[in-house]
Symmetry: C2
Subunit: 155 residues, 2 copies
DNA sequence: TATTGTTATACTCTATAACTATA
DNA sequence: TATAGTTATAGAGTATAACAATA
């Protein structure tokens, strides 16, 4: 969101613009396929069993159970997912992706993958790329570390 | 913002959560120093000469000339910056950071730096860290590349 | 009483337009 | 007329609360 001007290596100054671009890429690609980024996330997450309820689905992609309703209304209306009341618990809905929805999710994922690959090509040889991804994984794990979060993210 | 489930290395799935955490870190640290992230960005950018006008300052940090007004009102009211009409062009304001504002910017930057360093410590030896930063720079530059943007970011 | 889906409401951040004073 | 600063307004995205049906 913001520059953090410091003398040394500025991690935020490197990562934040990159994240902004990746978000724009997701938005652009999803849009070309007639989806919002959340709709694509829903489709992609729901495409892999086990089937989930609406709430679980929302939670699985970091969305919320309130907003997912309208998106599912739209996806269902376009024949990309089906919503059926669970016979064992009539409060909850089972979400299933139709073959059409599955194809759409796959083609979107393919384009998205091609776009990020075209970005990653800037990093050079294969082993540099692997090292980058490994380092990013280490950072991602540290981000989830309770100790680090308690020390640095408490208000 | 969103998961991009693909088979191979998922750049967005690695970078986006990291960016979210870095943003949360900035928000948290700035808040501890009584600032919003934008206010900190303003203070940090204005702290280094050449002195700028409001609009240039906003542009320099990716902010906009409308919203910076209220932030400068606040910063000025707290004695962290001064706003003086430019004598050569009475339409524009010259923004200057006070010694107090400078100290606040520095202490905030120090904490921010310490937080990201604690993250980067997860990456291991010094040369791995350097390689990561170099790779991120390459990605950042590729993000700005007109060819890539035209191919992947057009709507 | 608790939970699932649903709807309504409010809040934050951002984007656009319009006004003033200077040039 | 054009520009810098300012103000007001509208929009997207998000978060919170309340409701009906079901358990």
């Amino acid at each position: 969101m913001v520059l953090t001007r410091t003398a040394g290596p500025d991690l935020a100054g490197l990562v934040l613009p990159l994240a902004k671009t990746l978000t724009a890429l997701e938005t652009s690609i999803a849009r070309r396929h007639g989806l919002t980024t959340w709709q694509y996330a829903i489709l992609a997450a729901a495409a892999e069993p086990p089937w989930r309820t609406q709430g679980e689905l929302a939670g699985a992609i970091g969305y919320d159970r309130n907003r997912i309703v309208a998106d599912l209304d739209d996806l269902e209306g376009r024949g990309l997912v089906t919503r059926t009341v669970d016979a064992t618990d009539r409060r909850s809905n089972r979400i299933e992706v139709t073959p059409t929805g599955r194809r759409l999710a796959h083609s979107t994922a393919r384009d998205l993958r091609a776009g990020t690959d075209a970005l990653l090509a800037a990093v050079g040889p294969e082993h540099d790329r692997a090292a980058l991804l490994a380092a990013l994984e280490a950072l991602r794990d540290r981000c989830a570390d309770d100790g680090w979060r308690a020390r640095w993210l408490r208000r």
